[in-house]
């Protein structure tokens, strides 16, 4: 029965990374009403940043630092050259960012090829945890994700920048009338949300084979987590990430990845039917 703690720990680390991805998606959506379809590809860019530094011989750790910076800048560019022209056309932002996701994916294929690439394990040792031995890198993932999630909550709930962002979410016109530069807030948030995806991609890179399609594999569960958790508050994401990520990894383990996809998807659709505002029942921001 040594499997059970490992299974739980694995699920937990997956949940945390999923929350990281979903959080970037949801703050962008909550603030601007924009679903960034390229979010999965930002994850992808983060992972390939690590692939690149690893193959250049600089190793994993510089890549982990670089990934959120590079992806944040890509997000900034996307906001500046594209998104800001489309704020009045919400459905078109989805399409445009989707076009961006196609282009990014294809660029990755052109530069790195379509095949899966591996990253050298940055922390190959096992840690003795009494009952079990557990990979040190997975423990690092948990620690890193938890700190970044905590950091994001702190920014949003405790700082002036977060206060301004929350005000823009709640009532854009009123926030602007109080002297808050909403455009600036949008740009900062988009950059920050993108950087989160990049970081998540970099964190996950050593655990999986990195291929150009991997973004979608995180984008969809992250999105389902948002649907399940509701977009009204950041805490909804914690609940949604737990439900989606938890059931996904446990069912994958017990049965198969395909059956877990079906179950998670069906679960999400049923939640949408019964509680359109998400399981926490917070009101959706229109």
């Amino acid at each position: 029965m040594a499997d059970l703690p490992i299974l739980l720990l694995n699920s937990f680390s997956y949940i945390l990374v999923l929350i990281l991805v979903a959080m970037g998606l949801v703050i962008i959506f909550g603030l601007m009403g924009v679903i960034n379809m390229a979010h999965g590809e930002f994850f992808l860019l983060g992972a390939y940043t690590v692939v690149m530094t690893d193959s250049l011989g600089i190793g994993f750790w510089p890549g982990l630092i670089l990934a959120p910076i590079i992806v944040g800048l890509v997000g900034l560019a996307l906001e500046y050259f594209c998104i800001r022209f489309l704020y009045d056309r919400v459905l078109d932002t989805i399409l445009a960012t989707w076009g961006v996701s196609i282009a990014i994916k294809q660029l990755i294929i052109i530069f790195f090829g379509p095949a899966g690439l591996m990253v050298n394990p940055p922390l190959p040792q096992l840690v003795n945890m009494g009952l079990i031995e557990y990979p040190a890198y997975r423990l690092f993932i948990m620690l890193a994700s938890l700190s970044v999630i905590g950091f994001t909550f702190f920014i949003f709930l405790k700082t002036d920048m977060g206060l301004a962002a929350r005000a823009v979410i709640a009532n854009r016109n009123m926030a602007a009338s109080l002297g808050i530069n909403t455009r600036q807030i949008y740009r900062n948030t988009f950059t920050f949300g993108s950087a989160l995806a990049g970081l998540a991609g970099a964190i996950m890179a050593p655990l999986m084979s990195c291929d150009p399609q991997m973004g979608l594999g995180f984008f969809i569960p992250a999105f389902l987590a948002i649907l399940v958790g509701g977009t009204g508050s950041l805490s909804g994401i914690l609940a949604g990430g737990m439900v989606v990520g938890g059931s996904d990894s446990i069912i994958s383990y017990l049965f198969s990845p395909v059956s877990s996809q079906i179950v998670v998807f069906t679960l999400a659709v049923i939640v949408i039917r019964i509680k359109p505002q998400g399981i926490l029942g917070t009101k959706r921001n229109e």
Binding site: G33, I35, M37, C82, F85, L86, R89, V90, L91, D92, I94, L95, A96, W98, G99, V100, I102, A103, Q106, L107, I109, I110, L216, I220, F223, L224, L227, S256, P257, V258, Q261, I262, F265, A268, V269, I270, I272, R273, I274, P276, E286
Partner: protein, 326 residues
Amino acid sequence: MNKFAFISPNGRVNIIRIFVLIALGCFPLLQDAYLLSQLTVFLVYGLFAMSLSLIWGYGGILCFGHAVFFGIGAYIMALTTKGMIPGMTGIFTSTLFALLLSIAGTALFASILGYFLFSGRLSGPYFGIVTLAVAVVAERIATKWDYIGGFNGLTNIPAFSIGGYEVLDPLVLFYVILGICLILYLISDRIVNAPFGTILSAVRDNEDRVEFFGYNIANLKILIFSISAGIAGLAGALFAVAAEFVSPTILGFSLSTEVLIWVALGGREILLAAFLGAISVRTIEALLSDILGYYWILGLGVLFILCVMFFPRGLFGQLLSNKPRN
């Protein structure tokens, strides 16, 4: 009111319609068997694109996973005509029955899905991505399900047959499919110009106002979603016959992406523009993709972004629109 949907008050649009029909009809004169078989498949894609335009352009419902209906239609067609559905033999394996079953099956699937999603008042962006998830999951299922061929799909699909007569000549098949496309175009055009289509456009532009007049928005959306899915299913069924194979790729993410690009580039708000979008992109792709390789999709993606930003009505949409340029 015009008796024939094909003849609208706008002369220029009608000339283009007739020109397109004649051009397609005369295509076999080129006597190139390979191109003809290609174009037959492209016609099917055109029909598929039209079904997307019906919900997206007219209904304002963005569907990122439309290939799931195309694929289900194709699989139903293949399984039925190959006699692989338990208990269905004889007449039940005929092409016509299989076509009907493809349409009904996909429409039913769409209405069930629509019931869960629209009644939950899932707004535009959410809906789009949930359908994307459906497509991805469906592709995974088809890949793992050995009975329906798994990763390799199904081949050796029986030829199109009408009352015992098998259409083996590619030329005849081309005209049969062209005819079906024309009929479906006329029906769809009728739908969007009928009162139902007007209400639908009103829902697209202002949902609350329509609801205020006592219409049940969810039911309206489920209905048009099912109609669109049914047409996509029919296109899929024809694809199975024309291409003589089905595989998980026609069910999932990439075809869903492609059809959206065709329709966006062609023009989402005009059925014929969407149809032409599919045919032209596929034709150009057939000519250029070998030379451009990976850069083809990159270019298509960039073109798609520019089109969304600067030509939301699409390249053919502007040409075929009755509305003035703005």
